[in-house]
């Protein structure tokens, strides 16, 4: 046995991970201005320009990178047609929660946004719509008073202008720091969607990664038509919370868009490449119905 210690190994260990893995540790996808990014799913290194040309979808495995709200608006709304609503609305600190103002200020500086949703009016292949786009880079897209208020106002404007509403959802859920004011935004936004329905107007939700918690339990689940990008995480409770409750590991695809469509909660999963044209077709079909 003692001989074995000094015995030369016959084999070298080959890692299953791509060797390139370590080359780009500094260029994580969240670092702006980087030339290269690594796909979070397949680990392939992608040239940034290629990624942008491919709608921020990994050309190797089809993983849909998260888009921020500005990128999303640019991607989905016809050039020079977007008119933003309430762009200066900002959060306050209703519970005097320690550090909340500072956190918001940091995020405003970092993202160039005032809050976790951008709302406005614009055209999609020529069709007028009201659009709300949430941003997961702003405090995980959590819904506080501003997110709820901007969405409710956007929906009310749609009723006034008789326009359809499209909401791109992405959220970790309610904004904890605003306590019960956050919870009430679920009631407020759902009630506004109810009014939109009474007015006979179309409401499309597009679920993007991730959509969870209070947003899933309010306007995200209320679309006349619910679309989703592939591979999106959608759920009410967090995976960790459920695993603690049931004391066992959950299957890998649990709470994915693919899981949800199988259980009947999503109308259609649409690749980002086809998203704009799919929405356009839905809008056109509804417009035709209006004229009859």
């Amino acid at each position: 046995m003692i001989n074995n210690i000094f015995k030369k190994n016959k084999y070298i260990t080959v890692s299953k991970e791509p060797i390139k893995k370590d080359v780009n540790v500094e260029n994580k996808p969240s670092i702006p201005g980087g030339m290269w990014v690594k796909c979070e799913k397949c680990g392939q290194i992608i040239y940034n320009e290629d990624l942008d040309k491919n709608f921020k979808v990994c050309p190797y495995c089809g993983y849909h990178f998260r888009m921020n709200a500005r990128e999303r608006v640019e991607f989905i709304i016809d050039e020079d047609t977007f008119i933003e609503f309430d762009e200066n609305m900002q959060s306050v600190n209703p519970l005097d929660f320690e550090g909340y103002e500072g956190k918001i200020q940091n995020l405003m500086d970092k993202t160039g946004l005032k809050e976790a949703v951008v709302t406005g009016r614009g055209k999609i292949h020529g069709s007028d719509t009201v659009i709300c786009v949430m941003d997961s880079f702003f405090m995980m897209g959590s819904m506080g008073s501003v997110v709820g208020e901007k969405i409710a106002r956007a929906v009310e404007k749609a009723i006034e202008y008789k326009l359809p509403v499209i909401i791109f959802t992405t959220s970790g859920g309610a904004r904890m720091q605003e306590g019960m004011f956050s919870l009430m935004q679920m009631a407020k936004t759902s009630a506004a969607i109810g009014k939109l329905g009474e007015a006979g107007l179309l409401y499309i939700t597009v679920l993007t990664d991730p959509t969870t918690g209070g947003v899933t339990a309010s306007f995200a689940s209320l679309g006349d038509i619910i679309l989703s990008e592939p591979g999106v995480l959608v759920g009410f409770a967090g995976r960790r919370v459920i695993e603690q409750t049931i004391k066992q590991k959950l299957p890998e695809d649990f709470q994915s868009a693919e899981f949800l469509i199988e259980h009947g909660f999503i109308d259609k999963i649409v690749h980002r490449r086809e998203l704009k044209s799919t929405i356009k077709n839905i809008l056109v079909i509804h417009r035709t119905a209006d004229r009859r």
Binding site: V146, S190, A191, G194, A217, I246
Partner: protein, 273 residues
């Protein structure tokens, strides 16, 4: 905190401890005292009957009403049946079915809220917990009949709100109503669920604070020492309040009622622009 031992001014955590006591009256304790001829109805007509929610029809001083409530158990066996008052989507769908039934027959809806939150497990996700809650919020906001919700113990998160988008939302003096359980809140913000006590005391979840915020409409005083000290008296007080409120709400036109309800929730939130 021992039963009956009381500080002059109770913290949010003291109140939470109080409403989590096994002696705390549950929904059926109130229902049987407040209403006459309560008949319980079962099932959501889609999948099953969720015993975490009870609902049915009854008379409130001679006025026909629909009653819906989260029901907690008093011992292990009851709690297994009631799932600790934490509904699956089926419970919310049963509640909605009964609310729509109330709307059809022009009965006011009385809802008693008492849950840590909606249940979190695989089945809940598979059957659309998020959708079930969302649907209730939307439908309650435009329900064409009066509604009054009373938080009698714990009002936890979306699972509580799904029975509380009402014309009037009241809380018992010691009840708490929160965006998430203090355990969950501490877990999310500080990655440490054991700091629940600290969380409870900064979350502003007591009846008085929420009344001051305009998030609830009324606080109902509890007997000295808490609701369990004199359930009959408290149920009597709730009944008196309910009768006058239901009569008042019923005198309004449906349009007025729904518009007022919409505006009430519409105005909640704090921001600058």
């Amino acid at each position: 905190m021992a039963v009956g031992e009381f500080k002059a001014k109770k913290s949010a955590w003291d109140r939470l401890t109080l409403v989590r006591m096994i002696e705390r009256p549950t929904a059926l304790d109130y229902i049987n005292r407040i209403f006459d001829s309560f008949i319980e109805f079962h099932g959501d007509r889609y999948y099953r009957d969720d015993a975490a929610i009870v609902g049915g029809i009854a008379l409130l001083d001679g006025i026909p009403v629909t009653v819906i409530a989260h029901q907690k158990g008093r011992n292990i066996n009851e709690n297994i049946k009631r799932n600790f008052g934490m509904p699956e989507p089926d419970g919310y769908r049963k509640a909605l079915r009964l609310m729509k039934q109330a709307e059809k027959f022009h009965r006011p809806v009385i809802l008693l809220v008492d849950t840590k939150g909606a249940h979190c497990d695989m089945e809940a996700e598979e059957r659309g917990q998020g959708e079930a809650i969302a649907r209730n919020l939307l439908e309650m906001s435009k329900l064409k009949t009066p509604s009054v919700s009373i938080v009698i113990g714990e009002g936890g998160s979306g699972g509580a709100l799904a029975l509380a988008v009402s014309d009037q939302v009241w809380m018992l003096e010691n009840a708490i109503y929160s965006v998430l359980s203090p355990e969950g809140f501490a877990g999310i913000l500080w990655k440490d669920g054991s700091r629940a006590k600290e969380a409870a005391n900064i979350m502003r979840i007591t009846a008085k604070e929420l009344k001051d915020f305009g998030i609830i409409d009324k606080v109902i005083k509890e007997p000295y020492g808490g609701a369990h000290k004199n359930v009959d008296k408290l149920a009597g007080d709730i009944k008196k309040n309910l009768i006058s409120t239901v009569i008042k709400l019923s005198s309004m036109t449906i349009d007025e009622l729904v518009e007022n309800r919409y505006n009430k929730f519409r105005n909640m939130g704090k921001y600058i622009e």
